[in-house]
């Protein structure tokens, strides 16, 4: 592999409420690479995202997760966040009483261990919100409370751009968005690729979000396993033929 290895998932088995969802996933991601994870509904894509982030509901039965040369399989969520893993939620939760702005500032301070100057932060935040075409007033609104689906997704990408993680997992960030919103979100992701030089795992059903993005690898997940890995052209192929051939292959 050309790029220095960032994430290495070795033969991962994951249970959710005593039901095995992932049956031995192997995945290796280098620095600065963009990986697309596709597959039919209910096949374990989001489960992989949650397991990488460390959601305690998702139990790793066997296998290991290595990040930046460290075994993080047993690490709690917040430690992984500090290590540089970020998950953009499919359904971001509403948290009353905390403004979007203070939430991001707090997260930044947690990550860097330093106090962030309010003035610099506000300027940076406004600039980033402009990229995402977000109304600046959202910064002072309670986190995701009463946000539309599109604004919630934009707020996730805003956090991504502000926190600058080394690995971002985007869990169906494009779902439920109209064409314009997909374009805006996609521009935000492009910005992350460009300015943060971070790695990406893009979990998606559709290919719209990928049009403007540079993709290095594409993985197809079916029934809890990655059954095929290819380059960007695999996206095109799936776009035309769907997952049908893979599912029959499984049987």
């Amino acid at each position: 592999m050309l790029n220095k290895q960032l994430l290495n998932v070795k033969d991962l088995y994951v249970d959710v409420e005593d039901k095995e969802i992932l049956h031995g996933v192997d995945l290796s991601i280098g620095e600065g690479e963009t990986h697309v994870l596709m597959g039919p509904n209910g096949t374990g894509k989001s489960t992989l995202g949650y397991a990488l982030m460390g959601n305690p509901r998702y139990t790793v039965k066997s296998g290991e997760i290595w990040f930046k040369g460290k075994n993080i399989t047993a690490e709690p969520v917040n430690e992984r966040a500090k290590d540089g893993i970020f998950l953009s939620f499919q359904n971001p939760l509403e948290i009353p009483g905390v403004t979007l702005s203070s939430f991001i500032r707090n997260a930044l301070e947690q990550k860097t261990g330093k106090r962030i100057k309010l003035w610099d932060f506000k300027k940076d935040l406004e600039k980033t919100m402009a990229i995402l075409q977000m109304d600046p007033s959202y910064a002072e609104r309670d986190l995701n409370v009463g946000f539309s689906g599109g604004e919630k997704k934009k707020a996730e990408i805003l956090q991504l751009l502000m926190l600058k993680p080394s690995l971002a997992i985007l869990d169906e960030t494009d779902s439920g968005l109209d064409v314009d919103a997909v374009r805006t979100v996609s521009a935000g992701i492009e910005e992350y690729q460009k300015t943060c030089k971070g790695s990406l795992i893009v979990i998606t059903h559709s290919t719209k979000i990928l049009e403007a993005l540079h993709v290095d690898y594409t993985h197809v997940m079916v029934e809890g396993r990655i059954i095929k890995t290819g380059d960007a052209s695999l996206v095109e192929e799936i776009n035309e033929n769907g997952f049908g051939s893979y599912e029959t292959q499984e049987q």
Partner: protein, 468 residues
Amino acid sequence: MKEKSQVEDIDRSIYDFKDDEKDAYRIKAGLTPEIVQKLSKEKHDPAWMELFRLHSLQIYNEMAVPDWGPSIEGLNMDQIVTYVRPNTKMKAKWSDVPADIKNTFERLGIPEAERKSLAGVGAQYDSELVYHNVREEVAAQGVVYTDMESALTGEYADMVKKHFMKLVKPTDHKFAALHGAVWSGGSFVYVPKGVSVEIPLQSYFRLNAPGAGQFEHTLIIVDEGADLHFIEGCSAPKYNVANLHAGCVELFVGKNARLRYSTIENWSKNMYNLNTKRALVEEGGTIEWVSGSFGSHVSYLYPMSILKGRDSKMEFTGITFAGKGQNLDTGAKVVHIGENTSSYINTKSISKDGGISTFRSSVVVNKGAENAKSSVSCQSLMLDSESRSDTIPAMDIRTKNADVGHEAQIGSISDEAVFYLMSRGMSEEDARACIVSGFADNVSKELPLEYALEMNNLIHLEMKGSIG
């Protein structure tokens, strides 16, 4: 910043009786007319007040202890004299103040001198100056703001006599009767017609006065078209060796007047808080209650609003946080008498570590209260499976044209929300505290900024160490 300085020990002299032998006898016998008479004399009561106290005492001795709420068995009623009159033996020492209270002072960043005062021991910090300045400022608008004792003999003595315990009568319940017999300290406020008091008046300063804070009486009269915000209490835990608080608050809201009454209390966790608060609202008037209950071992607290005049309104926003060993029975009552009256009750309760939080509400709509509107909403958050949360709403509607609604919700902290916050680097403890503060947010928003911050600090303190 407020100037603070150290002054001498709390003056317990008003309660000091010299006759030791007789004392021992009296303690056994409970509260006697002699004790009450002596208290009355020491306080230089007017004659009617002495009679009032004695009459209240009689009622007190005849009434039974309430048995419909949380148990108050831990309160030794035979020792009631020691609550009324802490003797020298019971005088607290700083070294006797429980460690958790000292820690809380530490964490809240309360200055040393103030800590001792709040703990009811040693030095008392000089709040008199601040209090005096505030009084001067509002006096220019014709507002009377004074302690209850001075009010009894001052310029407004007749007004005080006319209103004192007329809204909360000694016959209401045993602890109201006890209050009538032994009350001491508290505030009197009179806002004349049309006067809008810009700054909130805070009884915080008064509560540090000797002997106050246990049976204190608050009487507020807001005249026609006037406007006042009064803040009672303090978020730092008040520690008292005598663990009974039976205060009384009477609020008279005149025609088209508005009164906002905010309370934050964080009594020490050995306290029995049996407090009675009531407001009478005339035509077009508004009473707004904001109430935060964090402390005490047992609380009975249901501020009541009597919407007497047509178009009068009440709004109640409350939060109760019951932790380990706490049984907090709180809520609100409203009586609709006038036409077009409206009440809006919105409460949140949090229980944790086996704490019990009960929300009790009573909505009465009288026959003549045409077009009355009432909405009651109660949300509870239980932080673990040992804790308990109950909702006991009562309604008595006697008119056909009333719009009355009740809504209750009980829930727990969502694991997904904790995960979401943690995925951005927050510790589990902070994530939970953050969700709990968010839950309490509608109450914080009603409080002046410094109180909102203190309440937030309190929540974070209460949440500390809650992760096993």
